[in-house]
C-alpha cells in the first residue's frame, strides 16, 4: 500500500487476474479480518472535543506530502466477474465527511458508469452495501474515508459468496438457509392479548437489530475457507435467528436439536470474528452462539433438565415437529 497515487485514472495495478471467484485472495488480501486494520474501520469512539464541524484537512495528516494541491482520494476497486478480475485504481478529489460509498457513487457518475455495487439506504439500516474495505468486512455506507489509513483504499467484494460482478456477490445461500428455520409458533392469543415484560423482549430485540448485511457470514471461517461446509452450516446470522426464537417469550418450537444436528452449531469455535464485524454491534458470540450451544448440550445430555422440562415447562415441540413446521 506504499505505491504512490497514480497520476491518471482509471488504471490497473496489474494484480494477477483471479483464476477463481476469490478476488481478495488473488489480491493478496488477508484471509481473516483480525489481521487487518480493524480498529481504524470499526471504531465507534467519539471524535475528540471540538472535532465535529472542523473542515477535513488532509494536509494536516500528510505533512510529508509535497503536493499541497487539492486533496484526493484513491479507491482500488476489484472489477470483474465469475471468470476473473483485477483491482483498478480510481482517483477523485476528496470531499469532506464522505463515506466509501459516496466515492463509489462518484466513480459511477464520472469514471465508470457500469461499476456494479449494491446499495439502498446509505444509512446503515438495510445492509446492502457489504464489501471488504482494506480487507475488513464492512458496510461502505458507514465507513468514513477520513477514518481510514492514508493511501489507496482497497474495496473488494465479500469473499465467501460467489461473484456476480465487481462488488456484487450472490448471497442466495443466506436466503436458502432462512427457509430452513422453523417458523415462530406462539400459543393462541389470550382474550386480553399477549403479555411480555420489557426485560424479556430485550433479549430477542438485540438479535432482531440484525440488518442482514451478511458480513458475519462473510467473515466466518467455517464457510469462508470451506465451501463444502455451506451444505450443513447455517452461519452466525442464523444462529442469532435461532437464539432469538429460542429466547422469544411466546415461542413453542424447540429447535435445539435441529440447530445442533443440521445447522452445524458445533462447527463454530467461538473466534468472535462475527461479533467484531457486526455493524449493529450485536454480541453474536457471547449473547447468541454460546447460550445456544449451552442449551443444545443441555437438551441432548442432561436427563434431569429433560425431565424438568417435561414436568415444569410449557410444551415445546420436538425437533422433528419443529422441522416439519418448516416449508422446506
Amino acid at each position: 500500500m506504499t505505491d504512490s497515487i497514480p497520476a491518471s485514472t482509471p488504471q490497473s495495478t496489474g494484480a494477477t487476474p483471479s483464476p477463481s471467484p476469490s478476488p481478495s485472495a488473488a489480491a493478496g488480501m488477508p484471509a481473516t479480518p483480525s489481521d487487518a486494520t480493524h480498529d481504524d474501520v470499526a471504531s465507534t469512539a467519539p471524535l475528540e472535543d471540538g472535532a465535529a464541524g472542523h473542515a477535513f484537512d488532509p494536509a494536516a495528516d500528510e505533512e510529508d506530502e509535497e503536493d499541497e494541491e487539492e486533496p484526493t482520494v484513491t479507491l482500488r476497486v476489484w472489477r470483474g466477474d465469475a471468470s476473473g478480475g483485477d483491482l483498478v485504481d480510481y482517483t477523485l478529489p476528496a470531499n469532506e465527511g464522505e463515506v466509501v460509498l459516496d466515492v463509489v457513487h462518484r466513480i459511477q457518475a464520472t469514471l465508470a458508469p457500469d461499476l456494479a455495487c449494491r446499495w439502498n439506504c446509505k444509512a446503515g439500516k438495510c445492509g446492502s452495501c457489504s464489501s471488504e474495505i482494506n480487507g475488513m468486512p464492512s458496510l461502505m455506507c458507514m465507513t468514513r474515508v477520513d477514518e481510514l489509513p492514508e493511501g489507496p483504499i482497497t474495496v473488494t467484494p465479500m469473499r465467501t459468496f460467489p461473484i456476480i460482478r465487481d462488488l456484487v456477490t450472490d448471497v442466495t445461500f443466506n436466503f436458502e438457509v432462512a427457509k430452513r428455520v422453523p417458523a415462530f409458533a406462539p400459543p393462541p392469543r389470550p382474550d386480553d392479548g399477549y403479555r411480555m415484560q420489557q426485560v424479556d423482549v430485550e433479549r430477542g430485540q438485540e438479535f432482531r437489530k440484525c440488518i442482514e448485511c451478511f458480513l458475519c457470514q462473510d467473515v466466518c471461517h467455517v464457510i469462508r475457507d470451506h465451501e463444502e461446509n455451506k451444505a450443513h452450516y447455517a452461519g452466525p446470522r442464523f444462529f442469532i435467528r435461532f437464539a432469538e426464537l429460542e429466547m422469544h417469550p411466546l415461542d413453542t418450537n424447540d429447535r435445539r436439536e435441529l440447530v445442533r444436528q443440521r445447522m452445524g452449531l458445533g462447527l463454530c469455535n467461538i473466534t468472535k470474528c462475527c461479533t467484531e464485524v457486526c455493524p449493529e454491534h450485536i454480541k453474536i458470540t457471547d449473547n447468541a452462539i454460546i447460550p445456544l450451544k449451552e442449551r443444545a448440550v443441555d437438551a441432548s445430555y442432561d436427563p434431569i433438565a429433560w425431565l424438568g422440562r417435561k414436568i415444569l415447562r410449557r410444551h415445546k415441540r420436538s425437533p422433528e415437529e419443529a422441522s416439519a413446521a418448516s416449508p422446506h
Partner: protein
C-alpha cells in the same frame, strides 16, 4: 428479438416493502399462486428505514384513545383532503394489524404491565405509536419477511419491472421487467397485479429515500391509463441531517421530539412557539413550562409545538434559516442532550445515537443535532377504491405509498407503517377476489413486450449520448430548487420547461458495458419513471393555487376553501409513456357522512 422467460401467477405483487409483503401474504393465504417481485434483495426495501413506530389506537397507554380520535387526527393532519373512508378504515383496523404482527413474532417495546407500549408523535392527540426503539420499520419488514418465507411465497428479487401489460380489454394482465444480476428479460402473466412500489424521493437532491424510490408504480399506473391524485402533495420531513454533505437528507426520527427533544435556533430560542397556526392553537402549549410538563401529563397540559404536524414544522425551520437564525450548516438545532439523560437517549434512540456518532462525529447525548427539511414521503398516488385498493384500470391494485388518498395533503408520522399493513392486506384481498373471478386465459400482447424490451435496450445501441447520472442530477436539481418545499407559479412553469428538456435528453441516453448488474443502465431504465412522476408533481403543484398541508405556494399563501373540496386527478389518455402528456383536472372529493363530520368537530 430479445428472448425472455415467462412466469404465470394468480397474483403478482410489485414491491416487497411492508405493503407488498402484507398484500402477498394475504393473497397467498387465500391459496392463490403469488409472486413477490422486488428491485433489491428481499428484506432491503425502504420500509427498513421507518424509525418511529406504527400508529394504532390500541389505548394501551391512554385508554381514552380510540379509532375516532385517530380518524380525527389523521383528517386534521391531512387538512381534510384525505379520502375519508380510507382514513376511517385505517384508524379502525390498525390495532388488529399490529396485534397480528405480534402473533407473527414481532417484539414491540412493552408497558410495565406487559402490553405493547406507545409513544407520542406529531399530530397524534395521544401516545399512539407502537414501536421497537427507533427501528420499527426493520421489525415490521423482518416480521413480514419471515412470515412470507414460512408461507413459501415465490420471491423474484433484484428484478426490475419496466411496464405493466394489458389485454385487449385494457385489463392489467401482467408485467415485463429484467433481472438486475443478468440483465435478462422476464415476463409475468397474472390475473391481478398489486403495485406496492413505494415513493418518489429520488427525484429530489436531498431526500431520506433510498435509491429505489423512483416512483416506478406511480409512473406505470399512469402509463396504463390509471388515475393518480394529489401528486402535488410531497412531504418534506422537518428533520433530516444537514451535515456532512454526504448524508444530507438522512432522516432524524420524529421520535427525538416525541421523547423530549426541542427545536432551537442559533440563539437557543425555541422558535416553534412563534409558529403555532390557528388550527392547532387551542391544543398547543404556549409556554415552555407547559410544553415540558405535557411529556409527563397529557391530561393537564397541552402538547409541545415541537410536535405540530410535519408540514408546519418544516415550514417553520425553513423560515428560521431564511431569516438568518439557522445553524452553521444551514439547519436548526434539535436538542435532546440538555433535556434527557445519556442512558435514556441511548436506550430510546439507539439508531440515531449511532448514526450521528458514526457519520457526523456528533454525540447526541452531549451536543445538539443540526437538522433541516428533507424530501420524505409522497401523499399522492394511484386513485384507489378504499375497500379493495382497486385502481381505475381493471386488474390493477395499489397499496402503501404508491396509493393516494389516505393521507390527504400531509401525513402524520406513524400513519405510514399502519397504512402499509391495513391497505396492504386490503389490496391482497382485493387482488385475490379479482384473480379468482377472472375467467379465461390471459392473452398477452407480444407487441407490448417487444416494445418495452426495445426501449430498455436502446441506450446500448447509442454512442456518445447523454450520461444517465448527469440527467438524473439535473432532474434532482430541478425538482429541489423549483418544486421543493416552497413553490411559486413562475418557478413551476420553469420546472415543466426543464422537465421537457430532460425528457428529450433521456431519449438520447447511452450506456457503457453489458447488461449484467450495470448500474448505469439500471438508472437509465429508472429515469422514465422519475420524469413521469416529476411532471405530475409539478403539474399538480401548478394547478393547486393555494397552500394546503405539505403543498405551499408563496403566491397563494392561504388555503382556498373551494380547492379544499377537490382532488387534482391526472392520467394519460391516448398516447402513453414518459414522453407523452399527462392530463389534469379537478374532481370533487368523496362526500363524508355526517356522523364522521361530527367527529372532526368534537374536542376542539
Amino acid at each position: 428479438m430479445t428472448d425472455y422467460e415467462t412466469h404465470r401467477y394468480d397474483v403478482i405483487v410489485i414491491g416487497a416493502g411492508g405493503a407488498g409483503l402484507r398484500a402477498a401474504i394475504e393473497a397467498k393465504s387465500r391459496g392463490l399462486t403469488t409472486a413477490l417481485v422486488c428491485k433489491s434483495l428481499f428484506g432491503k426495501a425502504h420500509t427498513v428505514m421507518a424509525e418511529g413506530g406504527v400508529a394504532a389506537a390500541m389505548g394501551n397507554v391512554y385508554p381514552e384513545d380510540n379509532w375516532k380520535v385517530h380518524f380525527r387526527d389523521t383528517m386534521r393532519g391531512g387538512k381534510y383532503l384525505n379520502n375519508w373512508r380510507m382514513a376511517q378504515l385505517h384508524a379502525q383496523e390498525a390495532p388488529d394489524r399490529v396485534y397480528e404482527l405480534e402473533a407473527w413474532g414481532a417484539l414491540f417495546d412493552r408497558t410495565p404491565d406487559g402490553r405493547i407500549t406507545q409513544r407520542d408523535f406529531g399530530g397524534h392527540r395521544y401516545a399512539r405509536l407502537a414501536h421497537v426503539g427507533d427501528r420499527t420499520g426493520l421489525e415490521l419488514i423482518r416480521t413480514l419477511q419471515q412470515k412470507a418465507v414460512s408461507m413459501d411465497i415465490d420471491v423474484f428479487m433484484e428484478c426490475k419491472i419496466l411496464r405493466l401489460l394489458q389485454d385487449a380489454s385494457g385489463a392489467v394482465s401482467g408485467a415485463v421487467g429484467y433481472w438486475r444480476p443478468t440483465g435478462e428479460f422476464v415476463v409475468f402473466e397474472a390475473n391481478a397485479v398489486v403495485l406496492a412500489t413505494g415513493s418518489i424521493g429520488r427525484s429530489y437532491t436531498y431526500t431520506s429515500n433510498s435509491w429505489e424510490s423512483t416512483g416506478d408504480g406511480h409512473a406505470m399506473a399512469i402509463w396504463a391509463g390509471a388515475d393518480v391524485i394529489e401528486m402535488e402533495c410531497v412531504q418534506f420531513h422537518p428533520t433530516g441531517m444537514v451535515w456532512p454533505l454526504s448524508v444530507r437528507g438522512l432522516l432524524v426520527t420524529e421520535g427525538v421530539r416525541g421523547d423530549g427533544g426541542a427545536l432551537k435556533n442559533r440563539d437557543g430560542h425555541r422558535f416553534m412557539f412563534d409558529y403555532i397556526p390557528e388550527m392547532f392553537r387551542a391544543e398547543t402549549a404556549e409556554t415552555e413550562e407547559e410544553a415540558d410538563a405535557w411529556y409527563e401529563d397529557h391530561a393537564h397540559n397541552r402538547r409541545t409545538p415541537d410536535l405540530l404536524p410535519r408540514d408546519e414544522v418544516a415550514r417553520a425551520i425553513n423560515a428560521e434559516v431564511k431569516a438568518g437564525r439557522g445553524s452553521p450548516h444551514g439547519g436548526v438545532y434539535l436538542d435532546i442532550a440538555s433535556r434527557r439523560s445519556p442512558e435514556f437517549i441511548r436506550r430510546r434512540l439507539p439508531s440515531m445515537y449511532h448514526q450521528f456518532l458514526e457519520l457526523a462525529g456528533v454525540d447526541i447525548t452531549a451536543e445538539p443535532m443540526e437538522v433541516g427539511p428533507t424530501c420524505h414521503y409522497m401523499m399522492g398516488g394511484v386513485r384507489v377504491n378504499p375497500e379493495t385498493q382497486a385502481a381505475t384500470v381493471a386488474g390493477l391494485f395499489a397499496a402503501g405509498e404508491v396509493a393516494g388518498g389516505m393521507h390527504g395533503a400531509n401525513r402524520l408520522g406513524g400513519n405510514s407503517l399502519s397504512d402499509l399493513l391495513v391497505f396492504g392486506r386490503r389490496a391482497g384481498m382485493g387482488a385475490a377476489d379479482f384473480a379468482e373471478g377472472r375467467s379465461g386465459d390471459i392473452q398477452l400482447d407480444a407487441a407490448q413486450i417487444d416494445a418495452t424490451v426495445a426501449d430498455a435496450m436502446a441506450p446500448f445501441s447509442r454512442e456518445g449520448g447523454e450520461n444517465p447520472y448527469e440527467v438524473q442530477q439535473d432532474l434532482q436539481r430541478t425538482m429541489q430548487s423549483l418544486v421543493g418545499i416552497i413553490r411559486t407559479g413562475p418557478e413551476l412553469e420553469e420546472a415543466l420547461d426543464k422537465l421537457g428538456e430532460l425528457r428529450e435528453r433521456t431519449a438520447k441516453i447511452s450506456v457503457e458495458g453489458g447488461r449484467a448488474y450495470n448500474p448505469g443502465w439500471n438508472l437509465a431504465t429508472d429515469l422514465p419513471s422519475m420524469l413521469t412522476v416529476s411532471t405530475a408533481i409539478a403539474q399538480g403543484a401548478l394547478a393547486r393555487k393555494e397552500s394546503r398541508g405539505a403543498h405551499t405556494r408563496d403566491d397563494y399563501p392561504n388555503p382556498d376553501p373551494e380547492l379544499g373540496k377537490v382532488n387534482f386527478v391526472q392520467h394519460q389518455t391516448g398516447e402513453r409513456g414518459y414522453a407523452a402528456p399527462i392530463q389534469i383536472g379537478p374532481e370533487p372529493l368523496p362526500e363524508m357522512p355526517d356522523e364522521l363530520h361530527e367527529l372532526l368537530e368534537e374536542g376542539h
